[in-house]
Amino acid sequence: MAQQRELRLAGLGGQGIILAGIIMAEAAGIYDGKFVAQTQAYGAAARGGFSRSDVVVSDEEINYPKARQLDFLLAMSQDAYEENLSMLRPDGILVVDSTYVSDIADAHVYAIPFTRIAREQFGRENVANIVSLGAITQVSPYISEEAMLQAVEKRVPPRFLELNKKAFEAGKNAAKEAKQKSALQEEINEEM
């Protein structure tokens, strides 16, 4: 069987979830050269409703284009976390935006405050999605960092390019920290 990976980004309308999904799909499909299918589901409201985007990445042609069991979940809101957690594989990777997701039952989680980083470092919350894409390249092996950055560069408006590159970098750094913390936590858990 072909290696097929199923990734989901979920959150609220206005958080740039679908754009992030498109960037991921472009990174995987065009720059990493894999087969890819990206779908989306969202409420009718432009802001505040649910929003999610599935990205299926494979070495072979993809039939069913939506996620069935997640290898990766990014939850950008508490609702998104609660609604989608049951679809995550036991060994799947979970990343949450800890600005909004505070009530977490799962121990194996990368909790990174994407929105707070975007607000505090860049003065605009709407780059939180790009911060999260930077982080994703560090905590999951499915999309290469180079490909993701190339796709970001292609899909954001030119005048915001520098801002977005910095946001991407900030996400990477935050993820590296979170990784160290989680490694430490593992050690503590083992000792106990």
């Binding site: 799909a25 472009e26 890819v36 990206q38 969202y42 009718a44 284009p65």
Partner: protein, 382 residues
């Protein structure tokens, strides 16, 4: 051509532009919006015309008018807009104005669920407008196929002088995939047959072998009458029964003569199958996954993909082996095409429907569960 990440709705525009659509009239509606948006930007750059009309009634009217003036025309909409288009769609069938109506199906009835998928307009595409008219409706399952079928839709419209409905669903319209599009030069382009006789000899609705009258564009010196009333060869209203019958018979005959070409369908792992899944649109994707996974469990399941929905591709079933005992028809409606599958199988096989109407795409699990639960369990459905 290089690989691109394209959305179904984008691929539709690429197909339309490649085959020479040079007039688009429409009114925005989710989930077809991207089509109008892209056409409004792209068409003027290649000498085409884009117009946003006051509603879908006007949209349909303007593409019929532009078509009679010689343009290759298209519009795009979703359920509620498709309903408004029905009257003028019938006019297009009667006036034999080539045009393509893209309907990206969303949840219904009425305004339903704008952002969620469904396949609820399958019978509307067939019988939405009144009168005993023929129609062609095609439905794609991949982004690349959206491109190809947009080209085919425009070519069928031109060749048979008929409105063609390209029935997409929200899943395919909004799906992004990596695709390589063909070079524009390699795209087959069919243009309507025009008269070569002097204008005063022109009989605008005269029959011929193909059943498709030669079509003179308005503005080139051929003056003739176009009406929704039943008309004679000259385009003027008639109630003489020989003329009425001749027109109605010809309208159907011209499509019937093309059945071989029009009824597009594909088989997937049907060679030894005892159970067939028959489906279309986005559900083909789920069905393929289901077939592959059930085959791993040793079940002989195959798939018949219906690309053409109308005229219903009965030829897909005519040579079906007697080995096939059971057919499952998964659809995102209460069984609109299932009835057709029952009809053409004449009680020879058990036909069961798998309906899903909760606003979500049918999953491979939905199909596999139904086959495992109901497969081989008895009574034929007539």
């Amino acid at each position: 051509m290089e690989a691109k990440l394209l959305m179904g709705n984008e691929a539709c525009c690429e197909g339309a532009l490649a085959v020479g659509v040079d007039f688009f009239g429409g009114y925005p509606i989710t989930p077809s919006n991207e089509i109008g948006e892209i056409m409004s930007r792209r068409l003027p750059k290649v000498g085409g015309r884009f117009i946003q009309m006051e509603d879908e009634i006007g949209s349909m009217a303007c593409i019929v008018g532009a078509s009679i003036a010689g343009r290759k025309t298209m519009t795009a909409t979703s359920g509620p807009g498709f309903s408004l288009m029905q009257e003028n769609l019938g006019f297009a069938a009667m006036a034999e104005a080539p045009c393509v109506i893209v309907n990206v199906m969303r949840g219904g009835p009425s305004t339903g669920m704008p952002t969620l998928p469904s396949q609820g307009d399958v019978q509307q595409a067939r019988w939405g407008t009144h009168g005993d008219h023929p129609i062609i409706a095609l439905t794609p399952s991949t982004v690349r196929e959206v491109f190809d079928l947009t080209v085919t839709s425009v070519n069928f419209a031109e060749k048979y002088r008929t409105p063609v409905v390209l029935l997409m669903d929200e899943v395919i319209g909004h799906l992004r995939e990596k695709v390589v599009l063909p070079q524009k030069e390699s795209v087959e382009v069919v243009n309507r047959a025009k008269p070569t006789c002097p204008p005063e000899w022109y009989r605008p609705f005269e029959d011929n072998k193909s059943g498709v009258p030669l079509m003179a564009p308005f503005g080139e010196g051929y003056r003739y009458h176009v009406t929704g009333l039943t008309h004679d060869e000259m385009g003027f209203p008639t109630t003489k029964k020989d003329e009425v019958d001749a027109l109605n018979q010809r309208l159907h005959r011209k499509i019937r003569q093309g059945f071989e070409e029009i009824m597009i369908h594909e088989s997937f792992l049907m060679e030894d199958a005892t159970t067939a899944i028959v489906t279309y649109g986005c559900v083909v994707r789920s069905a393929k996954t289901a077939v592959l996974e059930m085959r791993q469990e040793g079940k002989k399941v195959g798939l018949i993909k219906l690309t053409t929905l109308w005229p219903f591709p009965r030829i897909a079933f005519e040579n079906l082996s007697d080995q096939v005992e059971e057919i499952f028809v998964p659809e995102m409606n209460m069984g609109q095409l299932y009835r057709e599958v029952v009809r053409v199988n004449h009680g020879k096989r058990v036909v069961r429907k798998i309906s899903k109407v909760d606003g979500e795409m049918i999953s491979p699990e939905d199909i596999m569960r139904a086959i495992k639960r109901e497969g081989g369990s008895g009574a034929k459905v007539y």
